[in-house]
């Protein structure tokens, strides 16, 4: 009895958000019955999948009290590298490995700049965001990169047992994120470093190592998202993933992750992704102007964070 009560209070925020999502679903269905069709639901999940995958990483980064602005550029860079490698070797495996290697490298650089170089993560990732985007245009000359291997395309468009492959990847990543944050020592370290970095150091935690690993996880997850986005598009584009990092940050913040670090939940972020995707999808479906969609998204951010800070008092 006592235990369930506590549980409820702790996950109240997520439950509330799920409620909002459900209300939204009802509204959209009334406005356009197409909303509840199998095709559209599957579409929502696919749209949400790559944001969710990178947002899991972003949540970890925000919990350690940092931020990663380079996610959008990394989506582009890893996708392009994957596309190039696939084009030249025709090997699915090599393409995937190459793309993820780019993610690891960029994550490592961000992490080292931030942890060892003592740069704020904001600055470190701002720099890599700019550099990567510039490189993308230099290397491609502004053209898109296409490949011939059908299997590579399937990463973003294929199905496995009737379920879209991106959705399967998303589920695996979510489980990874939840387990990491709630069941492992490393997860405790992530919250500790974000809660109070100096006290963590004084407790014997290798703070720098934790930060670098979190940025590497972020890099890997973002490059996976990059593979999905690129293969959905059908070509590597130097303009891909523009503002993608903002979607991830929005999802995390709407899901209750504190920008000052130390607080946040993967589950919250996922509900945040769901809310934003359902919102966007429904608005498009009922024919709302895209510019109004942006306005509404902004309002949602303010309302959800305000509700959060007010309810804490």
């Amino acid at each position: 009895m006592d235990k369930t009560k506590k549980l409820n209070i702790r996950s109240l925020r997520e439950l509330l958000l799920v409620g909002v999502v459900m209300v939204l679903c009802v509204v959209w269905t009334i406005l356009n019955p197409q909303f509840m069709s199998f095709n559209n639901i599957s579409n929502i999940l696919r749209q949400g999948s790559y944001i969710a995958i990178a947002a899991v990483g972003m949540t970890l980064v925000i919990i350690i009290g940092e931020i990663d602005l380079s996610a959008g550029s990394l989506v582009c860079a890893s996708g392009l590298v994957g596309a190039y490698v696939c084009k030249s070797t025709d090997s699915l495996l090599l393409a995937v490995i190459a793309a993820i290697a780019v993610g690891i490298l960029v994550g490592l650089i961000n992490g080292v700049l931030c942890a060892i170089g003592k740069l704020p993560g904001f600055i470190a990732s701002l720099a890599s965001m700019t550099v990567l985007r510039g490189l993308a245009y230099i290397v491609t000359g502004g053209n898109s990169v296409v490949w011939g291997n059908e299997n590579f395309t399937k990463i973003g468009t294929g199905y496995l047992g009737g379920i879209p492959i991106p959705v399967i990847i998303m589920v695996v990543v979510i489980i990874f994120g939840v387990v990491l944050t709630t069941k492992t020592r490393f997860g405790r370290y992530v919250y500790a470093v974000g809660g109070n970095m100096e006290a963590s150091r004084w407790s014997g935690i290798a703070v720098e190592k934790v930060k670098i690993i979190v940025y590497i996880i972020m890099g890997v997850l973002t490059s996976i998202a990059g593979l999905i986005i690129t293969t959905r598009l059908g070509s590597g584009q130097p303009s891909a993933g523009l503002n993608f990092e903002m979607d991830c940050i929005t999802a995390a913040v709407v899901g209750g992750t504190s920008m000052s670090g130390g607080r946040g939940k993967i589950v919250g972020t996922i509900v945040g992704v769901l809310l934003l995707t359902v919102l966007t999808n429904g608005m498009t479906l009922v024919g709302m102007n895209t510019y109004w969609q942006q306005v509404l998204k902004g309002v949602i951010i303010v309302v959800s964070v305000l509700a959060d800070t007010k309810s804490k008092k």
């Binding site: 405790r188 014997g204 290798a206 130390g262």
Partner: protein
């Protein structure tokens, strides 16, 4: 007929359903130094914050003397600015200054003089600030940035700020916690001057000597309730402690030197340099010993501890633990070598305030465990044991550690290290900001630990504490060890002499 300025009656206040103040009263008089005493969480600071407009009261009323008519009028102080305008100011325990702005801007923030054209009148601002600084004897250019000031100077700025409002009541909350002996003396003189001018001083402190030296009247609170107001000259320290904790403390001297095993050197520091230009120092720590480090502010005690614990890299010298040389280049190494550290800055370095009690107790222990997976059952056994052993008062171990009182927070830090089963525990100012009852518990705990085979290095700025707790005392001065005394031969005079540089030039 009485010379009161403020009367508060029937004040109650609850935080998140927990009563912090239960219908308490107080009367503050002109030109008196009125000490508030009580354990942490007794409600002293809360009451004063209500008076100054930081918190809103739930019920009760507050009367303020009207300076013109001499009549008492009921007032509602809703914001700190309203409080300041009514002459009620508070110098906070954690100073509330804007570090990047200068002194003058801080004193007159929100009340900056402006020229006719709407721009800031900087000359007038500086001039006014200079006058205020004279009152607190701070001879610094008012255009100096706060970040360049020492702790004591910042406090003077806070006081100047309070006085600039034509203060009638100034509240000091643990003002000497971060001051050296000399700085404290200056502060006391300022306080006495204010008193002579008819200002009422409210003095909140855990330090008995100060309270007796300064105050005219003392009001005691316990668990949010008003206990009594007494004349300082009518009571003894014992009476006060009894009023504060509700029963008498068995404060037997904690000396247990008979347990110290001098045959067994646990830790030996050889030729360690604390500051770049200081003399290399060496010392030994024996099994079952509490080794006290005393020194004035700036003596290098905390710096030495940081080196021992691997926070700062060792400049020169070696460290041996159980006769084995240990590399101390990181905190991880120090912990692996069997050291634990209860830092002076409990909230900034000892705890992760936003995490649960449980997580705080386990955060170091996790590094010692073989598996990276959390075994919730085993972990719960560990926390449960220490919560019981140290009798930590809590509602739920999932509760955030910041909700605990200072004493219980300190116990959580200690539990964190006990879980690591260290051989040596460094405790830097282990009872700072902790109430009398919890203090005694911590002393007893320290003794218990040494009896069970551990050794403790304790750093303290309170002579009484060093003398009461340590088996042996090392006195530091400017990075050098200038004296060593055993518990038996220790006297306040001797220790102080050493702390000023030795017996000859003391």
């Amino acid at each position: 007929m009485s010379d009161a300025v403020v009367k508060m009656e029937g004040i109650s206040k609850a935080f998140a359903g927990i009563k912090a103040l239960d219908s308490v009263q107080i009367e503050l008089r002109k030109g008196e130094i009125h000490a508030l005493m009580g354990e942490n969480g007794a409600g002293k600071s809360t009451l004063m914050k209500i008076m100054c407009g930081v918190y809103a009261k739930d019920s009760g009323r507050m009367l303020l003397e009207n300076e013109n008519t001499g009549e008492f009028e009921e007032v509602e102080i809703k914001t700190p600015l309203m409080g300041q305008k009514a002459g009620l100011s508070m110098v906070f325990q954690e100073l509330n200054l804007l570090e990047n702005m200068n002194i003058a801007e801080n004193i007159f923030i929100g009340r900056e003089p402006v020229k006719k054209n709407g721009f800031l009148d900087k000359e007038l601002l500086t001039e006014r600030a200079k006058k205020e600084l004279e009152k607190v004897r701070l001879d610094v250019d008012p255009r100096t940035a706060i970040s360049e000031l020492s702790c004591a100077q910042m406090q003077c700025v806070e006081i100047a700020k309070a006085l600039s409002f034509h203060a009638r009541v100034v509240v000091f909350d643990e003002p000497t916690a971060s001051l050296s002996e000399k700085e404290s003396q200056t502060l006391f003189e300022i306080i006495k001057e204010l008193k002579a001018q008819g200002v009422c001083i409210v003095y909140i402190s855990h330090r008995m000597e100060e309270v007796f030296a300064l105050s005219d009247r003392i009001t005691v609170f316990r668990n949010g309730k008003y206990i009594d107001t007494v004349d300082a000259k009518d009571v003894t320290e014992k009476d006060l402690i009894k009023m504060m904790i509700g029963h008498e403390l068995n404060g037997a001297k904690n000396c247990g030197s008979e347990f110290v095993n001098q045959e067994n050197v646990i830790l030996e520091a050889k030729n360690i340099k604390v500051f770049p230009n200081s003399k290399p120092i060496s010392f030994k720590l024996y099994e079952n010993e509490i080794l006290g480090f005393f020194g004035l502010v700036g003596a290098g005690r905390t710096e030495l501890m940081r080196v021992l614990f691997g926070i700062d890299t060792i400049r020169e010298g070696e460290l041996y633990i159980r006769e084995k040389k240990v590399p101390v280049s990181s905190t991880k190494d120090a912990i692996a070598a069997g050291l634990g550290m209860v830092p002076e800055d409990r909230k900034g370095l000892g705890l992760i305030l936003g995490m649960s009690i449980k997580d705080n107790m386990l955060i170091s222990k996790l590094g010692q465990m073989k598996s990276g997976w959390l075994n919730k059952g085993a972990l719960k056994d560990i926390t449960g044991n220490y919560i019981k052993e140290l009798s930590i008062a809590l509602r739920d171990e999932e509760q955030e550690v910041k909700e605990l009182s200072g004493g219980n927070q300190q116990k959580v830090v200690i539990a964190k290290w006990l879980a690591m089963t260290p051989d040596i525990l460094i405790m830097d100012e282990p009872t700072r900001g902790i109430d009398v009852g919890a203090k005694a518990e911590i002393y007893q705990l320290m003794r218990k630990l040494t009896q069970s085979g551990k050794s403790i290095i304790m750093v303290s700025s309170e002579i009484a504490e060093v003398m009461q707790v340590s088996d042996r005392i090392l006195v530091m001065h400017e990075g050098d060890i200038t004296g060593e005394v055993t518990a038996e031969e220790a006297t306040q005079d001797l220790i102080l002499q050493y702390s000023f540089g030795g017996a000859n030039n003391g």
